[in-house]
Subunit: 397 residues, 2 copies
């Protein structure tokens, strides 16, 4: 089986022996603190280090405005709990990260998707959504967006688009929740400034070590304006007392004693080879009528099937052909996405990616033959919500 | 300063060098898994190990019914989120753990306290509370109880009391949330069976490695009936994706390669010496009219001041005299507890505990002199709620 489905980073290239030795030393020298309860906000030395990491994306922040979380997923949950009541609306790209949709749903919020183009979420569509929803009496709490190498589309916002979004946030008085796990995994250019680098007032920022170091330690963070930060700390204390303490000591040790910037360059080279393998294999194996995005970083390509095909219905046949992907419907709160799928290039080797794309191409071609032979439209009827949620497929091939 | 205020375990006696070496080996040999994303329910090997730990308190459980949490505090939060809506009632001992009260409050639930006696929560008071609240149209979602060495009173439920509580849970159809961080830190006798050992249907159980190993890894667990467990896993996934993975590998390694049962005996000896130091110092230094509990395990003694004194008002003067404690009001949702304080014997050495109790006795005696001299009643007016919440001070001296 070649899985193009998951979003697991490839951490096999981390210098494990050296990291193990450093953590062993940490326990011997500082274990009484590292294994004890810690601060509900997160350890001060960890928050200091995080300001250095964020500076790589031009964010100037004070360590006191950071709250450490159990992975940035917990940041999503804490922010949602602090801002939202049941029935509130959260705006998100169409499509958006499945884990965020899950958290918003668990907190009884409704997600309204806003169309993207090849430069990310479309400001005029966002303005229209905010006005329409507010006119209908709905409470719109924030825009959730992934500006860099978006999950699942791989699309990035241009610098101009970022400036437009931040200006729009002020124009319509809308908070932006910026989720940025992949920003430093840029493959073709230097990192663009984060939305938070352009505006400190309207942007709450989520960061993570899961893709730039390792996810198993479960350390992410929220950077928020002071009044929000205070509420986040109280919510964190009631949720966990304190985020993982030992993990914070371990990651701080890694950042202190290892060339973490150099390690990110190693990761970039590794992911670039995988991204390139996928983008070279797709035109070779995909039938006419297929479209896909061309990510300049991150983990994902977003594929649109030829008309009439359904990625969810096709999945069992793909698995039989020993290739897996994530059906597009997972990334919509409203039932769309049946012609789409997310293909991950993060975890398998380039050779396996090429083999996976080849198998996938054969499955799609077989679906087209079946459809032509039996005249069956294998795509189920889609809900039509052209007002807010339907935009062009992003960055199409 | 002698702090008798905190609840931090003393982990200085853990074999840190050996633990460091074991974790270093873990990273070298198994780091790719230990540092990767994991299961939302928690790693299967960790859940298997936890069944062995719970067997020490006579709990027979299947690993599939366990959900790993980011400390048992997160278990409290997840269970509350799964069961409760805003305005629901949670019953708890009077007084109860401040961190649980905080979580229930953050989830917009109302806590109604039920009186304790020297054997724990009083069944007839619990029955009365359930009937009264339901007659008033309130939704009572569960009883939160700490059967062993309760925080903050140090009181333990007898076996007979446990049987009564479980029978009552069936009689009035009430779920019990059993929080058991201290059970294995029994100092005078073998562990009694957990409530969950007596009943698997009406009891949701919270466990933790924070006191029997170390809190900084943030690993606790919930053991719940199957239908509840499924909802807890979904809530955990939306809250964190997965609980701390590296911590689970580290703790499993510790349980596998170290004599963890022997280490608990070491902890017991250490805490027994501290508990004994406190219980020997109290009658020597406390003025007439003071009362306190006699815990047979755990971390805490609950002190009742002579009439007319207020532990909250007195705290600044105690701090000036270089001794700290936690005022009793922290452990009530309804403003009671001003004559009480929690004294922790877990963290300072026996010598420091004796010194702290001596200083505290002097502060209390000075308060009594002030009161007698100036005729001031330094106790503020207390709210009177004798129906459900006021019981005798537990296990009084």
């Amino acid at each position: 089986m070649v899985s193009l489905a998951g979003g697991m980073p490839n951490i096999a290239d981390l210098p494990r022996e050296a990291i193990g030795a450093a953590i062993s030393k940490l326990i011997a020298e500082n274990g009484v603190q590292a294994m004890q309860y810690g601060s509900g906000q997160g350890e001060p030395f960890m928050r200091d280090k995080i300001t250095e990491v964020m500076a790589e994306e031009q964010i100037a922040a004070h360590a006191d405005d950071i709250v450490i979380t159990c992975g940035s997923q917990q940041g999503l949950d804490l922010v949602t709990r602090v801002f939202c009541d049941p029935g509130d609306v959260i705006l998100a790209e169409a499509p958006s990260y499945v884990g965020a949709l899950g958290t918003f749903h668990a907190n009884q919020c409704e997600v309204v998707h806003v169309a993207m183009d090849e430069h990310g979420i479309v400001p005029q569509m966002l303005r229209h959504a905010v006005h329409t929803l507010r006119a209908a009496g709905r409470k719109v709490k924030f825009l959730y967006t992934i500006p860099n190498f978006q999950n699942p589309t791989g699309v990035s916002q241009t610098l101009e688009r970022r400036r437009e979004l931040v200006a729009l946030a002020h124009e319509v008085d809308l908070l932006i929740l910026e989720d940025n796990p992949y920003g430093l995994l840029t493959l073709d250019e230097q990192p663009l400034p984060a939305l938070r680098a352009l505006d400190a007032e309207k942007v709450v920022y989520l960061g993570s070590f899961s893709k730039t170091f390792a996810p198993g330690f479960r350390v992410g963070w929220v950077l928020a304006p002071h009044a929000v930060r205070e509420k986040l700390v109280l919510t964190q204390e009631s949720a966990t007392l304190c985020p993982p303490v030992f993990s914070q000591f371990a990651i701080a040790k890694y950042l202190d004693e290892f060339d973490w910037r150099g390690q990110i360059l190693v990761f970039r080279d590794m992911y670039r080879a995988r991204r390139d393998a996928m983008l070279e294999a797709l035109p070779e194996h995909m039938p006419a009528g297929s479209q896909w995005t061309h990510p300049r970083g991150g983990f994902f390509v977003w594929l649109t099937l030829p008309e009439g095909l359904d990625s969810q219905a096709m999945l069992p046949r793909a698995v039989t052909a020993r290739v897996a992907y994530t059906p597009g419907t997972a990334f919509y709160a409203d039932g769309l996405g049946s012609r789409n799928m997310r293909l991950s290039f993060c975890f398998p080797t380039p050779e396996r990616i090429i083999e996976g794309v080849k198998r996938l191409g054969e499955v799609i071609k077989a679906e087209l033959v079946t459809r032509a032979t039996f005249g069956i439209d294998v795509t189920p009827a889609q809900p039509i919500r052209r007002d807010l949620t339907v935009g062009p497929a992003p960055d199409v091939n």
